[in-house]
């Protein structure tokens, strides 16, 4: 689905990602863990080119999207992204939040988009919120809407950057629930999270990042049960 080759990213002098090589196959659920500042977000954001890599290639579905002349907007439609702070559009209703992109991109007519939006809102039990504004929703509701907003474009893959970190503890579950449903339906996912329970339950693979490198990776059993790398052990002993 997506292959990252020799990916490097610097902000000025600061090397944030150092020669990352990684492949995510269709259907995989890859959870990325690691200390704050280790480059997890930057890695994720390089995958849909929200950050321009300094060096290296990102190959999505056979296309090297770092090449000149690639229509990045078309690629991004196929790669949903969910942010820590939701980033819903506060001046639009929930319905408009969901239908804006598919209508503007001419993927659906208004009626079809509304129908699809209602169907998805039903799946996350928020259909009665269609005509309200994001400001009236709780954090958990906002994040579920944000996920659904990405799903409107029928992406092949979803990127999650700490989707539950900004939530009150009692709302974490409802968002993880939606993500688990997605995982069960076969969505390819890359998830940066500190929810180790989620990683254990859902991940097909766990990557541990530290200082711009993927230090260690493996199944949840390997990483959580028998970590080899010293830094992984140290990190897990702090968070578990």
């Amino acid at each position: 689905m997506i292959t990252v080759k020799n990916l490097c990213k610097s902000f000025g002098e600061h090397e944030v990602l150092i020669d990352i090589n990684e492949h995510i196959a269709p259907g995989e659920k890859v959870v990325i863990i690691g200390p704050s500042g280790s480059g997890k977000s930057t890695f994720l954001r390089c995958m849909n080119l929200l950050e321009q890599p300094t060096k290296g290639q990102v190959i999505f579905d056979g296309t090297d999207i770092t090449e000149k002349g690639v229509n990045i907007n078309e690629i991004r439609q196929q790669m949903g992204m969910v942010f820590q702070h939701f980033n819903l559009f506060p001046h639009l209703t929930i319905m408009e939040n969901l239908t804006l992109a598919p209508i503007e991109l001419k993927l659906m007519g208004r009626e079809q988009a509304n129908e699809e939006a209602l169907r998805l809102l039903n799946l996350v039990n928020l259909s009665e919120k269609a005509d309200t504004y994001p400001g009236q929703l709780s954090g958990g509701q906002k994040q579920r809407i944000a996920i659904v907003r990405s799903l409107m474009l029928k992406p092949k893959m979803m990127l999650f950057d700490e989707p539950t970190s900004a939530l009150d503890p009692e709302m974490v579950g409802e968002v993880l629930g939606v993500m688990k449903d997605l995982a069960r339906d076969g969505m390819t996912m890359a998830v940066v999270t500190h929810e180790m329970g989620f990683a254990r339950e859902v991940a097909t693979r766990v990557l541990f990042m530290d200082e711009g490198r993927i230090r260690e990776q493996g199944t949840p059993e390997q990483i959580f049960g028998n970590p080899q790398n010293e830094r992984t052990q140290e990190f897990l002993s702090k968070v578990l």
Partner: protein, 242 residues
């Protein structure tokens, strides 16, 4: 004759006789036309300049390679020159330059005034819009882009609507400034509100009533827009909590 009688006679002489009040009414019309058209022109220039400036600042060096990037850099350069020159020189000088130099061939003084004040106001509106755009959380642009919307579409549908809302009070303020600034139109012989009062003063050798009347009219208009701005701000605050 008592004081009131004297005053009445004076006002009749200043305003009614020879229909002198028409100087004021026609002047008010000119002031309104120049202000409104200049405002529209200023808004158009302001949005365009603000978008060019922020697009240039937001796309990093790397995103600016190629022909498109070069065009953007050139446009940005001209925008900066425009902002510096307009904001660094008096509107009065700009008006005189426009009338006697750049548009010396034009006999349409209203047009000269509209262009001058529109171009002048555009520079201030641009900075208002730019700060409005910058005040929008950068997550909004990222969310739009991550959904596959282009930079322009995201600007148009997501960033600008929120930015405009944030800067509406500042825009009303700019309009008030603009209205008062047009009072220098007389220097190119355009009979605006201020000049209307001044013509009456010249004809009657009575300064107080006509000039006071002119001041009162400006004041009433400004107070109306200040009141409108207050209401607007309250409405916007309420809609923030929705």
């Amino acid at each position: 004759m008592g004081f009131l009688g004297e005053l009445k006679e004076r006002l009749i002489f200043d305003f009614i006789e020879k229909q002198r009040y028409l100087y004021i009414l026609k002047g008010l019309r000119v002031t309104a036309i120049v202000t409104l058209l200049a405002l529209v022109l200023g808004l158009v220039i302001g949005v365009v300049v603000a978008v060019i400036r922020t697009a240039h600042d937001q796309t990093g060096e790397k995103g600016r390679q190629g022909a498109g990037g070069f065009v953007l850099s050139v446009l940005n350069f001209f925008c900066r020159v425009y902002l510096t020159v307009i904001r660094g020189t008096p509107a009065m000088v700009q008006l005189l330059l426009m009338f006697f130099v750049f548009l010396a061939s034009s006999t349409n003084k209203v047009l000269v005034a509209v262009l001058t004040f529109g171009i002048n106001s555009g520079a201030y509106v641009a900075e208002i819009f730019r700060s409005g755009i910058m005040s929008i959380d950068k997550g909004q642009m990222e969310a739009g882009r991550s959904l596959g919307l282009g930079y322009g579409k995201t600007m148009q549908k997501i960033i600008l609507p929120q930015a405009v809302k944030n800067v509406l009070p500042a825009l009303v303020n700019e309009m008030i400034t603009l209205l008062k600034e047009t009072s220098i139109c007389g220097y190119i012989g355009l009979n605006d509100l201020t000049r209307g009062g001044d013509i009456i003063r010249g004809n009657t050798f009575d300064a107080l009533p006509p000039l006071l009347a002119v001041a009162a009219i400006y004041l009433v208009i400004v107070m109306f827009f200040t009141w409108l701005m207050g209401r607007l701000e309250r409405r916007l605050r309420e809609s923030d909590n929705r």
